[in-house]
Symmetry: C2
Subunit: 290 residues, 2 copies
């Protein structure tokens, strides 16, 4: 029998700590950490995520502002919106909700965000720091959440075989690099991988970030493995992970559920980054004034 | 019997093509591609490398300038030197020979280079592009050389199991990301990897970039594998690779020798990047003037 990793409970614990730190920050600095979220268009899933992020900010004693731009916005309008938020000293963190409408280039938009306000950690400068293992200003939220969830099991990462299934810029690749930094032997698989089951079933720690409902099945899981399910697939049967939870749960040593696993921790990491952004902005202001 | 991948011959072929392109560029633009190399201190190996790079530039019809700073230079002196080269329009590529003396921070220095002059591809912005698979201005030279050497064998990369042994910022990690981009299933191993032989011997393509003489031995190599040896270990017996060449060469399908494998191709990639830098600078100048 595997232990279910309760991401929801972990996130609540972390959010309580962040709320205390945010309160301290407000009372000592006189500033309130503020996150700006830019939403382009009306993708229903994106609307849900943005609402959750806004609510989480407020519950943690931070402010949030949501800028909603129409689906047919031009790229330069989105860039202008970011530039105005870059110049607004009351805004500490800026996040562009992905995916963007197809006619807008994600890279053009993301790289306009000031690296010191890039709380999603997706700016090229922050990604460059991540690959080199330099202290990045901000770790991308989902990969950071994955690390926290694995650490919570007490299973040591060092020397373990880790398989990351999925190679997205937002999850798979940065997660692989963070696990490598913690001294795991890391394999990255994807749609072109031959014999996925053979590779995945060697993993002591298996990260599923493919975006295909229940794709990871029993024979792909090593007995006792830590299984982290990043999938959030909206189906008629509700939210479904990338892992066949019911099939796998008795073989895995630890497993995250969907929902209630990676999702809540990802939002908690965003709050953490926003608070860090505010603290850094305050420190910069302080050093300028003295 | 394996086929020896002749990196020296490949590099010569590439350099001939680059010399023709450089000549065309000079005659159409009236500018000569120019590489500036900064060498801090008097590490003998670094001196050899710098000399080779300078000579290679000249033989390809490009200019080079070498700035030698004393071993006890302060970090800010090295940074000043870079800033002056950043501002010099006649310089198209800037390279800081690594390693730097221990009292100087590599990251502080490298990130001062203008990304559009960063012909080594090590600036955070260029690394960030690399991880995301965006067109980077410049690919790091050794990883780019590795890709060319693998492609020269005719062995398809897509779907293959690749094992990269070594996780440096300059070779291991960027090489892994480039191979992933070409749809290999990539595993990164290092000093903390448990059962290296077991993992490495599954590789269809094995990249050795550890810096330990003859560490990759027969039992770590799958019969027929492509073996790329990045090691350049100076020993009493001369230059020795990370692969036990004599022991492995009959089992591998293809193998690079040391010297004469990765090294010459790395320098050819640097020349390629320098020419690209000059072409880009010229295009920017042109678009400004019109």
């Amino acid at each position: 029998m595997s232990k279910i990793i309760d991401g929801k409970e972990m996130a609540e614990g972390l959010r309580k700590k962040l709320a205390i730190k945010a309160e301290e920050f407000v009372s000592t600095s006189g500033r309130i950490p503020k996150l700006a979220v830019i939403l382009v268009g009306d993708n229903p899933a994106s609307q849900v995520y943005v609402r959750m992020k806004k609510k989480a900010c407020e519950e943690t004693g931070m402010r949030s502002v949501v800028m909603v731009l129409p689906e047919d916005s031009e790229e330069k309008e989105v860039i202008s919106a970011i530039e105005s938020l870059n110049g607004d000293d009351s805004v500490h963190g800026i996040l562009v909700q992905l995916p963007l409408p197809r006619h807008i280039s994600e890279k053009n938009v993301i790289n306009v965000i000031l690296p010191e306000k890039d709380v999603d950690g997706l700016h090229n400068v922050n990604m460059g720091k991540l690959i080199k293992g330099e202290e990045p200003l901000f770790l991308p939220c989902t990969p950071a959440a994955i690390i926290e969830l694995v650490l919570s099991t007490g299973v040591e990462i060092k020397g373990k075989q880790v398989v990351v299934v999925g190679r997205s810029n937002i999850v798979g690749k940065p997660a692989a690099l963070l696990l490598l930094q913690r001294h795991a032997t890391v394999t990255i698989c994807h749609s072109r991988t031959v014999n996925l089951a053979g590779v995945a079933s060697q993993a002591d720690i298996l990260i599923a970030a493919i975006g295909k409902p229940r794709m990871i099945t029993l024979e792909m899981v090593k007995p006792g493995a830590v299984v982290i399910d990043v999938g959030v697939n909206r189906t008629d049967a509700g939210l479904i992970g990338d892992v066949d939870f019911d099939g796998v749960k008795d073989r895995a040593g630890f497993i995250t559920p969907v929902p209630g696993g990676v999702g809540p921790m990802t939002i908690a990491m965003l709050l953490k980054n926003t608070l860090i952004a505010a603290q850094l902005a305050n420190a910069r202001q302080f050093s300028k004034g003295h």
